[in-house]
Amino acid sequence: MNRTAREAVGLIAQRELTMRLRSRAFRITLVLMVLMVVGMNIALHLAHNSGPSIIRIGLLRQDTALSAPLQAADRNVAAVTVPDLASGQSDVRKGTLAAFVRSGPDGLAVTVAKTLDPTLGGALTTVARERALAAQIIRLGGDPVLVARAAGAATVHVTSLQPPAPARDQQRLIFGIVVRLLLYLTFMICGPLIAQGVVEEKSSRVVELLLATVRPWQLMVGKVLGTGALGLLQIVVVGGAGLISARLARTLTLPLSGSLGTLAWSLAWFLAGFALFSLLFAAAGSLVSRQEDLSGVQFPVLAPIIIAWVLGISTLPGHPDSGLVAALSMVPFFAPVLMPMRIALGTAPVWQAFTALGLTLLLAFLMVRLASRIYRNSVLRSGARVTWREALRAA
């Protein structure tokens, strides 16, 4: 690329980026994606740390001794003292208490509004049994505390004959899925944006004015780079928001170095995948003159991305070692989506990861020529849709 070509490509990319950044649609999408990742972290935070909400139960003053064993049985139980039976019952009716508990002759008596919460029921049963057991131990002349300690000390020793599979904990899985979702969405947003941008130039006919001063490949590469920068910006903003909120919400406690590795791979795969697909989207866009015709021509480009995503997201969480996914993750058109999923799960050997990346980049490199040819042959042909075959053949 000589100086003027670089300048032209730079100007085109810059225009593409500024115009996209200014569009309402892009801003709204970005805000929604940030809200989505932050919201997910908040939801996970609540689900993990506070678990089920606090169960408030009422106890009479003489039963306050029940509070400690109840909390031991279920740490979400909070006991409050109520002055008498009537106020306990009315608090349950009003809903300020989940249950009102009294010790009775044969264990515990519980008053609830409709049905007893099963968790609370379990805790109350445990406490009632412990109390009956303790009473029997005392009657037999034993010490309930000693019995409880002995029971607590008994453990089960496990000897496994085969080494356990590497731990694939929940966090790692979710982190991998979120990163992939982000990249998938970026492909699915930026690819069609490129195609739309090409069609916009065709349908507004500004392309002839542009081609009087820049070459078709410069226009195509400029658009692709500008939109790529936009996609990268989107990933950095949304990914950063996700990472920071995950740290703050303590939903991601994996060592940061591990996350950075996943992120670095994701970035590499984003760039490789983008290089491969973006040019095809540009070529697809150049075939038609109206936005309405776009969905038909860009479907063949979208299809492998969607297939890879659906296959990966439905198969990998249950079967991380799926042979089909492993094989497809080596095929360039599927690799940009599937391989980083396997890398995030830790099931892809390093050689496979690098081989797939190499193959994808090689195909992307070949695609530059092919896409340039299609683009050059069809970008000035307005009117009816140009077929892929015509675009490839025409000189």
Binding site: I12, S204, R205, E208, L209, L211, A212, T213, R215, L380
Partner: protein
């Protein structure tokens, strides 16, 4: 500077079986306005697109100042495509600056040129508006500004006057004249032949992808057969029919228009006219550009007829 020329030399282009251009040849000198006329589909747009490098020619060459036009030269051409187009959602001013910079201007030059041309063309107050929100007339002005904003050395304008209101036509004509006076070769196509006749130094008439007549307007007009308008009110119909070398072009009402074959004696015509009674007017008439154009188009028609029916004979 005045000796530089834009030469279109033997440029041919075919689309499958259709011949769009057949050895199209002409040149435009620096400082000259060249009008490019012809029926729809005659090859004007194709010629301009090839000159701009938007299309590739099958054969032939376009040269500027003796050297083949390259990508670098094209950056110095101002182009107005027949298919008007600007980014609909981009602000007019930004768009002009962007186009100027694509042509190699620096940021400050681009913004200065944008201001200058939008002021000159009367759209300065609109530079902050998106192009799609401008009226059609203002969009046309911005489109012209887009062709001028990088201070081109050559102007190639495809139908620049179509869709313009009379005021804008005057502004545009003045701009083209000023550009030509500054030493820029200006080539434009148009169907408004009176305008071409008034504005152009030279005219080229294209038919079926080839130049059929090319020259100064006066030269072309006088190059045709000599015509004489005779107003002899008392002359009976057909009074001039028998004169040697004279063809009656029109005598439906009032004055008779005669076409004289080379060497025909106009004085004999005058005597014949005087013989019928008083002669109020006896004047040489040059055919208008419209007449020349019609002649070219009707020739094309005749050729077709001859080709298909093989009748030969009477040419209209």
């Amino acid at each position: 500077m005045g000796h530089r020329r834009l030469e279109v030399d033997g440029v041919s282009k075919r689309y499958g079986e259709t011949v769009a251009l057949d050895a199209m040849t002409f040149d435009v000198h620096a400082g000259e306005i060249f009008g490019f006329v012809g029926s729809n589909g005659a090859g004007k747009t194709t010629t301009m697109r090839i000159a701009l490098g938007v299309l590739a020619a099958d054969a032939g060459e376009v040269r500027w100042d003796g050297a083949p036009v390259t990508h670098r030269t094209r950056n110095r051409i101002g182009y107005m495509p027949e298919e008007r187009g600007l980014y609909p959602r981009m602000r007019a001013g930004e768009q002009l600056e962007y186009l100027a910079r694509l042509h190699g201007l620096s940021r400050s030059e681009a913004s200065r040129a944008t201001r200058q041309w939008t002021e000159r063309l009367g759209v300065a107050s609109r530079i902050g508006d998106e192009v799609q929100k401008l009226s059609l007339g203002n969009q046309q002005r911005v489109q012209l500004a887009a062709a001028l904003v990088h201070d081109p050395e050559i102007l190639v304008l495809d139908e620049p006057f179509s869709g313009l209101d009379p005021v804008a036509v005057d502004v545009m004509s003045q701009v083209l004249r000023d550009k030509a006076d500054a030493g820029v070769p200006v080539i434009f196509s148009s169907h408004q032949l009176e305008l071409v006749e008034r504005l152009c130094d030279r005219v080229g008439i294209v038919r079926s992808g080839a130049m059929v007549a090319c020259g100064a307007v006066g030269e072309l007009r006088s190059g045709g057969a000599e015509r004489i308008l005779v107003d002899a009110p008392q002359a009976p119909p057909g009074w001039a029919a028998g004169l040697p070398g004279v063809t009656v072009v029109g005598d439906a009402t009032g004055p008779t228009l005669l076409e004289l074959a080379p060497g025909a004696d106009d004085q004999a015509v005058l005597r014949a006219a005087l013989a019928t009674g008083p002669v109020r007017e006896f004047a040489r008439r040059l055919p208008s550009l419209t007449d020349l154009f019609r002649h070219v188009v009707s020739n094309e028609h005749t050729e077709h007829t001859e080709h298909v029916e093989d009748t030969g004979g009477t040419a209209a």
